[in-house]
């Protein structure tokens, strides 16, 4: 059993004084942690490739006289969380290098069935509507860019269908902030709608006809 709560596991003290033991303890820690909690992108790999990946992570952290591990500083947070992010990031980079990453979110708009026309009233108006939609997308892009970063992020996370809990986690806010973030999101949407309205696109009127 490894201690996932400590902010300073013992092997960190050994990196200079007894690197052999430090390495071995770190190996145990890594193997146990990642076998118990394989990062999401690693789960799609077979058992053998997962073992390979763990080896890559160990090598990444211990090469050049434990270069990566020595960058860790104790700020009272669990070392395991810090290390898990390093491992997770390494897995992502590795899969990206191999060209086999399956992104959760596609960047290719053509592959996403955003049938915005269906959301707008009178979709039978066809080409005219489509042309207006392209303009509207450009305006949305421009207007979002003028909001503060917090609002931009909230709006984009909402568009990506993050739940309030996921937004709170992603922003590293205290866990009891779900209601606050829902309220903030509502306020950001209000700001966005107002700016769009100033540009002549009153979305609230779209569905009222």
């Amino acid at each position: 059993m490894i201690n996932t709560e400590t902010s300073w596991p013992g092997f960190l003290d050994l990196l200079d004084t007894d690197p052999d033991t430090g390495f071995r303890d770190f190996y145990r820690f890594t193997y146990t942690l990642l076998r118990s909690n394989p990062p999401k992108p690693m789960r799609s790999l077979n058992s053998q490739d997962q073992e390979d990946m763990i080896g890559e992570i160990i090598y990444h952290c211990t090469r050049d006289n434990f270069r990566v591990l020595k960058k860790y500083t104790d700020k009272g947070k669990p070392f395991a969380a810090w290390f898990y992010a390093i491992a997770y990031n390494k897995v992502l980079n590795h899969l990206r290098d191999m060209g086999s990453e399956s992104n959760n979110v596609s960047l290719d708009q053509s592959s996403e069935a955003f049938d915005l026309q269906q959301l707008l009233p009178n979709p039978q108006e066809g080409e005219v509507k489509r042309f207006e939609l392209a303009i509207l997308e450009n305006i949305v892009r421009e207007v979002i860019g003028r909001l503060d970063e917090y609002c931009q992020l909230l709006l984009k996370m909402a568009a990506d269908e993050f739940t309030p809990r996921e937004m709170v986690a992603s922003l590293r806010l205290p866990k009891d902030q779900n209601k606050k973030i829902s309220d903030d999101l509502r306020e950001c949407r209000r700001k966005l709608k107002k700016k769009l309205s100033e540009k002549g696109y009153d979305l609230t009127a779209v569905f009222q006809s």
Binding site: M1, I2, P19, F23, R24, Y27, R28, Y31, T32, L33, R35, S36, N37, P39, N46, Q48, E51, D52, G55, I58, Y59, T62, R63, N65, F66, V68, K75, P78, A80, A81, Y84, A85, I86, Y88, N89, D97, M98, N104, V105, E112, F114, L116, L119, L136, E137, V140, I144, L153, L155, K156, A158, A159, D160, E166, A169, S170, R172, R189, V206, F207
Partner: protein, 319 residues
């Protein structure tokens, strides 16, 4: 707010979400991925305000990165420790070279250098990432210039390639063994960013650790091909010319990559010394270096689009 108003607001929000989503593609080109230390600090909750800002700006720029951060944070908050995870054999083995471990980690890279003929013969010198004693490098260069260093000029083999081998010691952690149960079926299609990584990955399938010693595991047969092949003979010999082993590699000649550079790699154990050389003709001879190295592995790599892959490998025991 009555039900009708709620329904209306929901529809508008949905439209807004779709517009935001469909307008994001051009923004993704601005994305610069933050460094791993910044990401780790953010995920673990120990980031400075500046680091938080870096991450959140990056999250604005990339939907994929947003999803990654979300998953990292949520997963890292739910880490559990399971006591019955079985470690591979490696864990039960004492590290054989405790002092060397530290020394290797503190080592510097050296580059190969030499005369014109040396460079002509080598298609590529793989730079060692680890310490190679300067004396040894100097000795190799002197021998290359003035002599027949490894008795490589075996005139009985007219077509043979004179192999000049670059040597370095492979760190133990690079040889963390791969489970042998899948060795026979594992694909060699994986592409690596260096030929050495491709070679070591393949070699890891061939070795095991038992009772603190290396041993060789199952052979990995060459992937079969129905295409016409030419045979490449690789001989393993002593410094006095005595042949120890011979390996035959069947290179598909209709393969679009048939002309891509091949490299042969040999790992000697237990020393973990790694040797390599370009494979330029149909016959090659490798002078087995060590008296104490009784087992070893051989693999062939080639350059492919986007990197390097291994093609075949053998393990052998000279006892």
């Amino acid at each position: 707010m009555d039900k009708r108003s709620e329904d209306h607001e929901r529809k508008v929000d949905e439209l807004l979400n779709r517009l935001i989503k469909s307008s994001r593609s051009e923004m993704s080109t601005e994305f610069v991925r933050p460094g791993e230390q910044v990401i780790a600090a953010y995920v673990s909750g120990s980031a400075t305000e500046q680091e938080k800002s870096i991450i959140q700006v990056a999250m604005i720029g990339s939907p994929a990165f947003r999803a990654e951060i979300r998953d990292m944070v949520i997963e890292s908050e739910t880490i559990i420790s399971i006591s019955d995870v079985s470690l591979p054999d490696y864990d039960a083995v004492s590290v054989p070279d405790r002092v060397g471990f530290l020394k290797r980690r503190g080592g510097n890279s050296v580059s190969g250098n030499g005369d014109i003929s040396f460079m002509d013969k080598l298609a590529k010198i793989i730079r060692s990432r680890f310490y190679v004693p300067a004396v040894a490098v100097a000795a190799i260069l002197v021998l290359l210039i003035y002599g027949d260093p490894f008795l490589l000029h075996d005139r009985s083999h007219i077509d043979s390639t004179d192999l000049i081998l670059v040597q370095h010691e492979v760190p133990k952690e690079m040889l963390i063994p791969v489970s042998t149960r899948a060795a026979a079926t594992s694909s060699r299609m994986r592409i690596f960013d260096s030929a050495e990584k491709a070679a070591l990955h393949e070699i890891r399938y061939l070795i095991t650790w038992q009772q603190g010693d290396f041993s060789i595991g199952e052979q990995r047969p060459q992937d079969t091909s129905s295409a016409p092949c030419k045979d490449i003979n690789i001989q393993l010999a002593t410094t006095s010319g005595q042949q120890l082993r011979e390996f035959v590699f069947h290179l598909p000649v209709t393969d679009s990559l048939a002309e891509s550079p091949l490299m042969v790699w040999a790992l000697a154990l237990p020393s973990r010394n790694l040797y390599n050389a370009p494979l330029l003709t149909d016959t090659a001879k490798i002078i087995w270096p060590g008296h104490s190295d009784s087992i070893g592995c051989l693999t062939i790599t080639r350059a492919v689009a986007g990197g390097y892959q291994s093609l075949a490998s053998w393990s052998f025991d000279l006892h």
